[in-house]
Amino acid sequence: MVFNVKSIALLVIALIIGLAIGYGIASIVGGGMVTTVTVTPEKKTYYIGFTLPLSGELSSIGKVWEKVVQLAIEDLNREVQAYGFNVEFRAVILDDGTTEEKALQNVQSLVQQGIKVIIGPAASAQVKVVKSYVDSNKIVLISPSSTAPTLAIPGDYVFRTVGSDAGQAKALATLAYQEGARKVIVFFRNDEYGNAFADFLVSYFREMGGVAIKLSYQTGLPDYASEVATLASKVQSEGADAVILISFDTDGANILSHAAESEILSSVRWFVSEGPHGAGELLSPAIGQFASKVRLFGTRPLFIANPLYEGFRDRMKQKFGMEPGVFSENLYDAIKLAGWAILRAGTYDGEAIRAALIEVAKTYYGPSGWTFFDNAGDKALQDYGVWAIVPRAPEGYQFKDVGLYERGSIVFLEEAYS
C-alpha cells in the first residue's frame, strides 16, 4: 500500500515537474518575444481572448496570425491613447490545435476569466461547436476566417470579418471564364470548405455558360500523387481546358508540385482558391515555372491597391520578417473592431459590445477594406483580388496581386506572365 501511495505521489509530482520544466524551456526559448508593458494603476485594462490554430492542421497560418495579433494590439493601444482614452488592451492567446473540443474548452476558459470578446476559432466546424455556448452566455465571437455558408445566421453573437465563399466562388468562376476556360474540372478538398465552395463555383460557372465537373479528394493523406493522376486522366477524358483547385496550403502545394510533372496538366489552365496563397512551398522553382507555364491565377479576399493593406504588409515584413498569410488582414481588422466596440459600448458587457460592434463596423475601414456587417453578422462587402506567382528580382518567386474583381468582371492591373 505504501508503495502505491508513493507511486501516486511520484507520478503526480513527475507530471507537475515535467510540465513546469517544459514550460520553463518553452518560455525561455520564446522569452524574447514576451513584451512586458508596465501598467500604471489608473489605466483600465481590457482583455481580448483569442483561440488560434497554433498547432494542428492550420498551424502554418496560425503561427503567422500570432504575430498579427501582436501587431494589431500594439496598433490599437497606440491609437486609443492618441484619442485620449486611458485604457490598454491585452491579448489572451490560446491554442486550439484546430480541433473542435479544444476550441470549446478555450472559449469556456476565456469566459471563465471574465472575457467577453473572443476572436477565433479559425475553422467553421470549430465555430459551430462554440456557437451555442457564446450565444447563451452573450459572448461576442469574431472569426477572421470561417466562410461556411451554414453559419450565416441572423441575430446571433457570431461575427465573421470575411465574406462568404459564395462571393469568392463567383470571382473565381468569372476569372476562369474570362480567361477563356469553358470546360473546367473543379478539384476540391472533401471537407465543408471545399464542398460548399465547389457547389457555388459550379453553379456560377454553369450560369455563365461553361461546363464544370466536380472531383473531390480526401484530406490528410501522406501524398496526393494518385489523386493528381486521376485528375490528369479526367482532364484528358473530358477534354477540359482548365482546372480549378480549391485547397488549403499543404495539400495545394502538394497537388501543384505533382501537377507540374504531368504533361497533360501542364497543358491546361489552372485557377486556385485563396487557401494556398502565402504558403512558402508554392514558391519553389518547380511550381514557379509551372505557374508561368499554365498562367496560374488565384483569387483571394482582398481589396487591392488598398494603401492600408500595403502598409500592413510592409510592417509585417519589417517587424517579423514574414509575409502576412491568408486572412491576416481580416484578423487584424477583427481585433481593431473588437477594441473600438468595447470602448464604444462603455461597459464590458457582451450585449452592449455586440450592439456597438455593428455600429463601429459601419464606419471602420482597415487593411481588409470596409468591415460593414450584413444582417447575419458577416462581412457584407468583400472585395476579391487576383494573385499570381511571379519571379522575384534576384532569384526565386513571389506572390503578387495582379488584378481585382469589379462589378462582375476581372480587371487586370498588370501583366503577370509575359
Binding site: N4, S7, I8, L11, V12, A14, L15, G18, L19, G22, Y23, A26, S27, V29, G30, G31, M33, V34, Y47, L54, S55, G56, S59, E66, Q70, V92, I93, L94, D95, G97, E100, E101, K102, L104, Q105, N106, S109, V111, Q112, Q113, G114, I115, A125, K128, V129, K131, S132, S136, N137, A148, P149, T150, A152, I153, P154, N190, D191, E192, N195, Q218
Partner: protein
C-alpha cells in the same frame, strides 16, 4: 487576470470529465479486464454522437411539420429553423434525449457485437489495427453521406435542457445528467468486474487458450462485453452531441481513442477507480493549461505539443515503472469470495 469563475470552471471541467470517464470505464472493462485491445473506441463514440444528432435534428423538424426533404437540417434554412423550434417543448426535448440514449446504446452495442467476428478471427495481436481501421472507415463514410450532413456535419442541435432560461442552471442540470450516467456506468461496470464473469474476463485476458480449455465460451463472453462497452460508449457520444450541439466527421479521429487509452493506463489497467482518476487528471490538466499558457506570453513551442509528449512519455513510463498504474488492480470481490475468506479466517482461528 480579471477574475476567475470557479463554479463555471468546475461545471465545464466536470462535464467533460464525465464524458471521458464513461469512455475510460468502458475501455477499461474491454481492454483492462477482458483483454480486447480496443483501438477503435472512437467508432462507437462517434456512432452514438451521430445517432443522437441525426435523430434530434430530424425529429424536431418533422414533429414541427417541416418537410425535411425540402429543408434538411444540414442546410442553412434547416439550421435557422432548428434554432427557432428547438426549445419550445421541454417534454419533446427530454423525450428525444431518452430516445437518443436508448437508440445510441442499441446501435453502438450491436455494432460492437458484430465487430467481434473479425476480432475473434484475427487473434489478439491484430484486434487493435482492425478496430483502428474501422474508425477511419466510419469517418470517411460519414464525410460522404449526405443525410447526416456529409462533411458539413450537423449543427444547432437542440439540447435536452435548452428550455431552461438561465444558462448556469442549464449547465448544472446537464452536468447532473452526465454525472448520473457516469454513476450508472460505474455501478454497472463495477458489478460486471466484481462478478464471476469478471473473473472469467481476467482469465481471458491473461491466457485466452487456458480459459478456452477450461470450457469458457470465449467468443460469447467477448461479444457480450463488447456489446455493453460499445453501447455505453455510444451513450457517451450522445452526451457529447448535446454538449457541443454540433457534430462533424473530423471530431472522431484516432487521437480521441489514444487520449482515453492514456487515461486508463495512467489510472491503472484493470482498476475502475483508476480510470476515474486517470480521466480526471488528464481532463483537469488540460483545462488548467488553458489558464496557465497565456501567462507565459508567446512561446516558441506550442504547449499542445508538450502536452502530448508528456502524455506519450507517461504511457511508456507507467508501463515500465509501475505497469499497474496509479491505482493497481484489486482482487475481485464477490459474495462467494467473501464467504470463502470468512470461512478461511474462521478455520485459521
Amino acid at each position: 487576470m480579471i477574475g476567475f469563475d470557479i463554479v463555471g470552471f468546475m461545471i465545464s471541467w466536470l462535464t467533460l470529465f464525465g464524458i471521458y470517464a464513461i469512455l475510460a470505464l468502458t475501455l477499461n472493462l474491454e481492454s483492462g479486464t477482458a483483454g480486447i485491445t480496443n483501438f477503435g473506441k472512437v467508432v462507437f463514440y462517434g456512432v452514438g454522437a451521430y445517432v443522437s444528432a441525426t435523430l434530434t435534428a430530424y425529429l424536431i423538424l418533422i414533429l414541427n411539420g417541416v418537410d425535411v426533404s425540402e429543408t434538411p437540417p444540414y442546410g442553412i434554412r434547416g439550421i435557422i429553423l432548428l434554432g427557432e423550434l428547438g426549445n419550445k417543448n421541454p417534454l419533446l426535448n427530454i423525450g428525444l434525449l431518452v430516445l437518443s440514449l436508448v437508440i445510441a446504446f442499441a446501435v453502438s452495442g450491436v455494432l460492437g457485437y458484430l465487430l467481434t467476428y473479425p476480432i475473434l478471427r484475427v487473434g489478439p495481436a491484430f484486434v487493435g489495427f482492425t478496430l483502428l481501421s474501422s474508425g477511419e472507415l466510419l469517418r470517411i463514410f460519414l464525410q460522404h453521406y449526405e443525410p447526416v450532413g456529409a462533411s458539413k456535419g450537423l449543427m444547432a442541435i437542440p439540447t435536452p435542457f435548452g428550455w431552461i432560461a438561465d444558462s448556469r442552471l442549464r449547465e448544472v442540470t446537464y452536468l447532473g445528467l452526465v454525472l448520473g450516467l457516469l454513476a450508472v456506468t460505474y455501478v454497472v461496470t463495477h458489478r460486471l468486474v466484481n462478478s464471476p464473469l469478471g473473473r472469467t474476463l481476467r482469465a481471458l485476458r491473461d491466457d485466452e487458450i487456458a480459459a478456452l480449455c477450461l470450457g469458457k465460451h470465449v467468443p460469447r463472453i467477448k461479444a457480450t462485453i463488447l456489446f455493453i462497452g460499445s453501447g455505453v460508449a455510444g451513450m457517451a457520444g450522445v452526451l457529447l452531441t448535446y454538449y457541443l450541439t454540433s457534430v462533424n466527421p473530423n471530431m472522431f479521429v484516432p487521437a480521441v481513442t489514444f487520449n482515453v487509452w492514456a487515461m486508463i493506463i495512467l489510472g491503472g489497467f484493470g482498476n475502475l477507480k483508476g480510470s476515474l482518476l486517470g480521466a480526471s487528471v488528464i481532463t483537469f490538466v488540460d483545462r488548467v493549461l488553458t489558464f496557465v499558457t497565456p501567462q507565459l506570453g508567446i512561446a516558441a513551442i506550442s504547449p499542445d505539443y508538450l502536452r502530448w509528449v508528456i502524455v506519450g512519455l507517461l504511457i511508456v513510463v507507467v508501463l515500465l515503472v509501475n505497469p499497474r498504474g496509479l491505482l493497481p488492480e484489486k482482487p475481485i470481490r464477490t459474495p462467494a469470495v467473501d464467504v470463502i475468506l470468512e470461512e478461511f479466517r474462521g478455520e485459521s482461528k
